[in-house]
Symmetry: C2
Subunit: 376 residues, 2 copies
């Protein structure tokens, strides 16, 4: 099976498509739950699948440190290891090396660092990153890039970009092209339009199976993020999938789909679920809040996740107060369900030519605020 991307409908800037990978298809726009260390936290793979997710993300940095890429390969690859038979995208490890790795030393060749777990020294080069992702058997690999800090001045960003583009070319050289497997480039350049354009053009020249926009959702704000997309996306080839890395809140996803983005990943639904925060059509609701203590209603009427079908807000409130694991388990499920329901809604609206109305309706709803407290 060759790696493919088919666009079946377009409505304004929004695209309705389908990724075809070595481990099956994934409908787009797609949200990829994050399975950092070979598990989407607090979820069984069947449960992740039940929410509607078709593709998940694995983190190269975490997996190279523990259990190690060679070990995963020996055990049959990441799909088998974590029991996820569908498509997997892995990042390159660059972002986590910068945020988690210790005693980092950056050279043109790559980066050396010490593990945040046990201090072991590692080297990550574009070639090694690609090799690790091959060992993991990722359907979609990402080029190694340098992630600039935020904020950053233009000359720093330009210098970093130059390195990232050289690494992108080396990543492509190191990648073994095989049917159904893809390598994506990553556009960098911080919030500087000229740099973003330059980066996008260079990547297109090298030629990738898909293009990611990186270095956003780092503190620049939604307006800046959308502006960068407005500058960047038009330069990317229309026929290739576009992936906005690490984004985001539902409202961010709506705005980015509107600007032609096809793929997303973000830790928010899982991370916020673990701390008691639920995504709903009417915005975010903290289940730890005392106003839920005697509320017999579900988090959200009509939601098909087990948290909403089987339990009350009062029960969820109790679980989080009591520190019971079932609380994070149920809210993670609910939040992933919310994200996948959103993506299903987005895909249906684009197919139906009703994208603008759908987007406006959802954006308004997210601002509405939670249902009134019972008896208040």
């Amino acid at each position: 099976m060759s790696f493919g991307f088919e666009i079946s409908a377009q409505d304004g800037g929004a695209r309705r498509g389908r990724l075809v990978t070595a481990h099956g298809p994934a409908e787009t726009p797609a949200f990829m739950p994050v399975g950092t260390a070979g598990t989407v936290k607090a979820m069984l793979p069947d449960q992740v699948r039940a929410t509607g997710a078709e593709i998940v993300l694995g983190n190269t940095y975490h997996l190279m440190l523990r259990p190690g890429a060679e070990r995963v390969a020996k055990l049959g690859g990441l799909h088998k290891f974590m029991d996820w038979p569908g498509p997997i995208l892995t990042d390159s490890g660059g972002f986590q090396v910068m945020s988690l790795g210790q005693l980092r030393k950056l050279t043109d060749k790559g980066v050396t660092f010490r593990s945040h777990i046990d201090g072991t020294q590692y080297e990550l080069t574009p070639e090694r990153s690609i090799e690790i992702q091959r060992l993991l058997d990722a359907d979609i690999s990402m080029v190694l890039d340098e992630c600039t800090t935020w904020p950053v001045d233009r000359s720093e960003a330009a210098k970093s970009l130059k390195l990232s583009m050289a690494w992108a070319a080396r990543s492509k050289d190191a990648f073994w092209a095989r049917p159904g497997y893809a390598l994506f480039g990553i556009v960098q350049g911080s919030v500087f339009d000229g740099l973003r354009a330059e980066s996008a053009k260079e990547l297109v020249e090298i030629g990738f199976d898909g293009y990611a926009v990186g270095g956003l959702a780092v503190g620049e704000g939604q307006a800046e993020m959308f502006r960068v997309l407005d500058v960047t996306v038009p330069i990317l080839p229309a026929a290739r999938p576009r992936y906005l890395m690490g984004v985001g809140r539902p409202e961010d996803i709506l705005g980015a789909v509107d600007r032609g983005i096809d793929m997303f990943d973000c830790v928010l639904p899982t991370r916020m679920g673990r701390t008691g925060k639920a995504f709903t059509r009417r915005g975010e609701v903290n289940m730890r809040n005392a106003r839920h203590t005697e509320d017999p209603r579900p988090i959200e009427e009509g939601c098909l996740c087990p948290a909403c079908r089987r339990f009350s807000r009062a029960y969820l409130n109790h679980l989080f107060k009591a520190g019971e694991m079932l609380g994070p388990m149920l809210l993670t499920w609910h939040n992933l369900q919310h994200y996948q329901d959103l993506m299903r809604g987005i895909r249906g609206a684009i197919e139906a030519g009703a994208w603008a109305a759908f987007k406006a309706e959802r954006e308004a709803a997210y601002q509405a605020g939670d249902i009134p407290t019972l008896g208040a």
Copy 2:
């Protein structure tokens, strides 16, 4: 539906029976997973049910403190609150008041204590314990008793027993008899045969729907525990269910079933699952052990739990090393599956008149030790 206990087969001392409660039946010998604070830790109710469990235990002490019995009642009772439509047994709270409550003051009337959570003062009397269990809507309530410390001298144990028997009578007076709902008495008396016999006789005189043996598995050892059962069980009415509280390891359960016990509860399968220890037919196996790091085999061949059907020992080892919640989730499931499979095996063997052979085979297997390490 009236509370009932039907014995369908007997083989030696072992009995094959069925509890019939307001919330449905439960086959015996039965193992009741512990759902302390309204949740069997790390498990969804459907998953608990999928292991074969038909009845679960709730802890009065934990639930009276948080979320509170009146609140649970207001929300429709414990079955609805925790989404467990089947039978629930609640303990009386006495044991946890002694082990967790602070600044305890014991009088003939009852016990006052401060919550280990927030210091709030509570009073627990036989009457209040029964009221709480009624508010929770427990199918089977337990009398409030005083749990003696271990070890204890005979005069202390006798004094404590006297109080427990007075409380048992008051508990019965406070209990509202309703169809399908039961109240069990609890035999105390530590390891003193005379006291155990006296306690059993007094309880039978008061008259209960079932009889528990309490105050065991507190450090006295398996031989002493079995000896106490040998003294106690013959005094209990054959037609009523017998419940050995807080027991135990699989070998304890085999020995107790052999002595005529019908019901068990224990935190071991769930608690040990959370720390990485798996119960198998060949004994306990610590999944954190380095010898599993590259082992592609399941915890136990033939086990139908998802940990064994879908994942390798290597993966489970990784999850526990990485501190991922999926590790406790999967091992809790596996351990509960092991216990329920054991109970199913016990019930089948009694029905088939093959109890002695089954017991001997299982006891030998538990001593066998884990399968040899791969490549060792």
